[in-house]
């Protein structure tokens, strides 16, 4: 196994080039869908809920929806996106015939997945700010949280992409892992209301910690628990990144 080098940047740049060519057909999804969720839940459902933890329901869910869609962005990119580039277009094969190694390709793809998460979070932040929903200066840290969240989920997704036999397997990943996580990570309601056992389970989910960090940043409310969130995400990101490189080398170099 070799270490990823600066050449990973060329893979990231390739993915960026495709995105810039096709962004018109993707931009709607990047910002559109999360805004619909915010509007439906925050404005529609919010009327019946009133306040959560002393804030409007819209303000309560906004940070979670931002990082939740950062997660979706990175995950789509490094599951379906990477799989198609690897198996259908044979882009990885073309790249590793040059001075790049598998590790460069996978690192570039993961950083690109994180970049997608960042783009989506920035888009939403701008729209939220336009509607007067961004009040704390600490909100500038939300994109950083989105980037870290994106990196973690891109790595996690890449681990799965490295072992799936076919593109259909991603259905399991989404329906049994990603989508449930979106609903049980404190995006739409505080976890404290759940039974203790479920709370422990939810605590292990990476998105829970991303939501906690994003909420603190958007509301400007720091507390010591954030260090645990940061540590957990860092450990998970490093571990899955390393594992993704290992498994992808095993898959691609035979």
């Amino acid at each position: 196994m070799s270490h990823p080098s600066h050449r990973a940047l060329f893979v990231w740049k390739r993915d960026l080039d495709v995105f810039l060519r096709l962004w018109r057909s993707e931009a709607g999804g990047v910002v559109g869908e999360p805004l619909f969720v915010l509007a439906a839940m925050g404005l529609g459902l919010g009327v019946y809920i009133g306040q959560v933890n002393g804030q409007s329901y819209l303000s309560f869910i906004a940070p979670g929806v931002i990082v939740g869609y950062a997660m979706f962005g990175a995950t789509f990119e490094c599951t379906y996106g990477s799989f198609i580039r690897m198996e259908v277009q044979r882009t990885f094969e073309a790249i590793i015939a040059t001075p790049l190694e598998v590790e460069d390709v996978i690192a570039g793809e993961i950083v690109w997945g994180a970049t997608r998460a960042l783009v989506s979070a920035l888009g939403m932040l701008v729209v939220l700010a336009a509607f007067g929903q961004v009040t704390s200066p600490w909100a500038v840290l939300v994109p950083v949280v989105a980037l870290v969240t994106g990196f973690t989920f891109a790595s996690l997704s890449m681990v799965f992409t490295a072992i799936v036999p076919s593109i259909n397997s991603f259905n399991y990943y989404f329906t049994l892992f990603i989508t449930p996580m979106f609903f049980f990570s404190g995006v739409f309601f505080p976890l404290s209301g759940l039974p203790q056992a479920v709370q422990w389970l939810a605590w292990a989910l990476p998105l829970t910690h991303a939501v906690s960090l994003a909420r603190a940043a958007l509301q400007g409310a720091a507390h010591w628990g954030l260090l645990v969130d940061i540590a957990w995400l860092a450990v998970l990101a490093a571990g899955t990144f390393w594992l993704a490189l290992r498994l992808m080398r095993r898959r691609l170099i035979k």
Binding site: Q89, E93, P99
Partner: protein, 303 residues
């Protein structure tokens, strides 16, 4: 120092679990030479090429490319190679031009130089007018030429081509052959795998015939024909083959039977021709590499 070999394999082997793809082969390629791998499907050609391209580590043996070890100096070797895989792997989201620009980045060719090289290689493969076209709109032959053009961007010392003309029409094939000879004339070493005997005979200075992971024979196309089947072949159709078979069993004529047709190889072609005049439908013709191939790799389908 003048190198006498640019690729050197000693006891090179590749195993996938219990399957032996390459069973310990030796070969040497000289700089500027066109060296061919000929063999049926599953003979080990592609596995060998992938090892040369540092995309598959050898299970055993030694493999040096431009004096560098494929196991430890992959990046440096790959910087000197131009690789054309069996299946096209162009970027479908980009234009012809952008495909080349993106690929040039992987070699860290400075942008200005990359643009100049891109113009040159597109011209070389008659794709200059297609620079702005999306790859999706190219014909199969143009896509193949673009993959070939792309492999030249980094001015490789060694071109590694895995069945480069499969699926091309005759015009396309001849264009590619002419261009490959031109590149070879400029000093590029060419490593070629093919199932097309005409291609091997036209392009290769030397070639090896592989079967089930081993090298059965090596030499120049002419020498291989001379050595293994002689100058001429008599082809006897199925109808006349039956009685002749019995007769041949006692003789010292070398023969081969593919499906129902008999092939008689003889160093003394005149004598054979005279005796064959008596067999209905027999065709007398010069021997080719294809005869050597069939003779050495056996009659049945490899798969």
């Amino acid at each position: 120092m003048l190198l006498t070999t640019i690729i050197q394999a000693k006891g090179l082997a590749k195993k996938y679990g219990a399957l032996v793809a390459v069973a310990g082969i030796d070969f040497e390629v000289s700089p500027g030479e066109c060296f061919g791998f000929l063999g049926p499907n599953g003979a080990g050609k592609t596995s060998t090429m992938r090892m040369v391209c540092c995309q598959s580590p050898p299970t055993a043996g030694e493999l040096l490319v431009d004096s560098l070890d494929v196991r430890t100096q992959g990046r440096s070797i790959k910087a000197r190679l131009g690789v054309v895989p069996q299946e096209n792997n162009l970027d479908p989201d980009f234009t012809v031009w952008h495909n080349l620009m993106v690929y040039a980045r992987y070699f860290e060719i400075p942008p200005e130089k990359a643009q100049q090289r891109a113009r040159e290689v597109l011209e070389f493969f008659h794709l200059g007018e297609k620079a702005r076209s999306p790859v999706q709109e190219l014909s199969g032959g143009m896509k193949r030429r673009l993959v070939l053009a792309r492999s030249l961007l980094n001015e490789p010392r060694i071109l590694v081509l895995d069945e480069p003309t499969t699926g091309l029409d005759p015009q396309g094939r001849h264009l590619v052959w002419q261009k490959l000879r031109q590149l070879q004339g400029q000093g590029t070493t060419v490593l070629l795998s093919t199932q097309n005997m005409e291609e091997a005979a036209r392009l290769c200075d030397r070639l090896v015939i592989m079967h089930q992971g081993s090298i059965l024979a090596q030499g120049s196309p002419e020498a291989l024909v001379q050595e293994h089947v002689g100058a001429h072949v008599v082809e006897v159709p199925a109808e006349s083959a039956g009685p002749l078979r019995e007769h041949l069993k006692g003789s010292n004529v070398v023969w081969e039977s593919v499906e129902d047709t008999l092939y008689l190889f003889a160093r003394n072609g005149e004598l054979l021709r005279e005796s064959m005049g008596l067999v209905a439908g027999a065709v007398y013709r010069p021997a080719t590499l294809e005869d050597v191939f069939l003779h050495l790799t056996g009659r049945g389908l490899a798969e």
